[in-house]
Amino acid sequence: MSEGDFKIPVGPQHPSLKEPLSFSVALKGEKILGVDIRLGYNHRGIEKACEERTYLQDVYLIERICGICSHAHSTAFVQAVEEIAKLEVPKRALYLRSLIAELERVHSHLLWLGIAGHEVGFDTLLMYTWRDREIVMDLLAEITGNRVNYGMNAIGGVRQDIDAPEIKKILEGVKTLEERTKYYIDVATEEATLIERLSNVGVLSKDDVLRLNTVGPTARASGVARDVRKDDPYAAYGDLHFDVITDDHCDVYGRAVVRLKELMESYKMIREIVENLPEGPISVRAPRRIPAGEAVSRYEAPRGEDLHYVKSNGSDKPERVKVRAPTLANIQSVKKMLEDRYLADLPIVVAAIDPCFSCTDRLIGVSDLDKNSGKVMSWEELVSYGVDWYRKNRGVDLSKLNESFVKGRKYS
């Protein structure tokens, strides 16, 4: 670094980041020379906490990993458990799960559109899209009972059913939203200042996508047709008719277009689900103890592919739960996208991958390939390891907290 270069920290607290992550940006004037990324500020020990609770309680815990993709995590977990237990979920339940999934996708993409507008200083778009998002939130509250963290899934099916009055409201709401979305597509493709800010920013070629393994709309905007709903259909997606939207712009503008067009596809799918809802029960009875086995389940969250791995050992608590959120796959590409760009592009490039660090911050085990050894720690070992590390490296003594964490737990 020569004279005139300096490093500024963006994060962990910054007005442009909705969730904490830390960038250390090396700048020369306004040009970015390089970026160092640090994650981990939202780690809450959810995977370990899952092992202390029964499967029934875990459904609610996993749902609260993230507020925007809560149904995504809950469904992926429940699908994995149902696969291990070999449960036959009724068709009506699968359709209802897909209905809530598509409504969640609508609300997440509208939220993203507002945030993208805010990051480039276009607050009007933020206010208008979030006003229209209230229609979806009210629909979800009518059907499931809450605006976020829907609590719709149970092991073996869903918990709530819908009737004719709800169906009527859904169709009306979707009709209004379709007109508004068409207007936003016009605004995004014609408003000159918006196009200027979003074009040629955050460019990721097709080869980069395949090499860095990005998922979701970030990959689809570079022409890679990767969508779990088509590649590996789950829930009711095998029966539904929809297209996988790709775009060739390879930049943030392409990602905006992909998300907007996916909104239109979602409205089509919601109508198809509601008009073809099969009759029948909404859940089967699930055993409390799940037989031993392991399963991987994939789900297309609004941000990309969400992967859950569950291993059971015959008791009523899981042995291991692992969650790989889509943002973890996408965050590697931010470094590539910010090469040779201006500081002013950093917020919109980060916002374009739709980061959700509550989903992402899980424990990654790094194993030494030569020695081929792994280490599994118990709860007590983990807590004492943390206390020792902080005493040695930060000079802080947390052993008093140790007692209440290990001994004061009062779950069933």
């Binding site: 006003r131 509250a141 609590g151 000159a192 196009i195």
Partner: protein, 132 residues
């Protein structure tokens, strides 16, 4: 893509003459939904003391205490409750139901522990739990 400057001008000018989309809370309240998961309500006459609700609660917020022959009281810590409704689903006698109440904030954290007894099933007592 054809580019226009100020594409939203017409929409924006029309908004001046429309009613604002803001809800004047607390003067106006949002619409109440039938399935809304708010505070719980407990009917002591139906409870049989099986304690399935205590076992199934994801956050360990409920406690059932026996205060007489076939009489039970339910204490819940509203700060721990996640308003999921699993207790209502698990109860074999449907003694627990969820209401629409969501304005539950208190200035004192101890007031968030409520107890439902047979004398006053509709108006729960807000008092700190006694140590067993």
């Amino acid at each position: 893509m054809k580019m226009k400057l100020g594409k939203m001008v017409m929409q924006v000018l029309q908004s001046v003459f429309k009613k604002p989309a803001t809800l004047n809370y607390p003067a106006e309240k949002p619409a109440a939904f039938e399935r809304f998961r708010g505070e719980i309500k407990f009917d002591p006459s139906k409870c049989i003391g099986c304690k399935i609700c205590v076992k199934d609660c994801p956050s360990g917020a409920i406690e059932i205490k026996k205060i007489g022959e076939k009489e039970f009281e339910l204490s819940i810590d509203l700060a721990k409750c996640i308003y999921c409704g699993q207790c209502a689903d698990s109860c074999p006698k449907k003694a627990i139901a969820l209401t629409n109440a969501f304005e539950l904030a208190q200035l004192n954290k101890e007031n968030l522990k409520v107890t439902f007894r047979a004398e006053s099933p509709d108006e729960p007592e807000r008092n700190p739990l006694e140590d067993d």
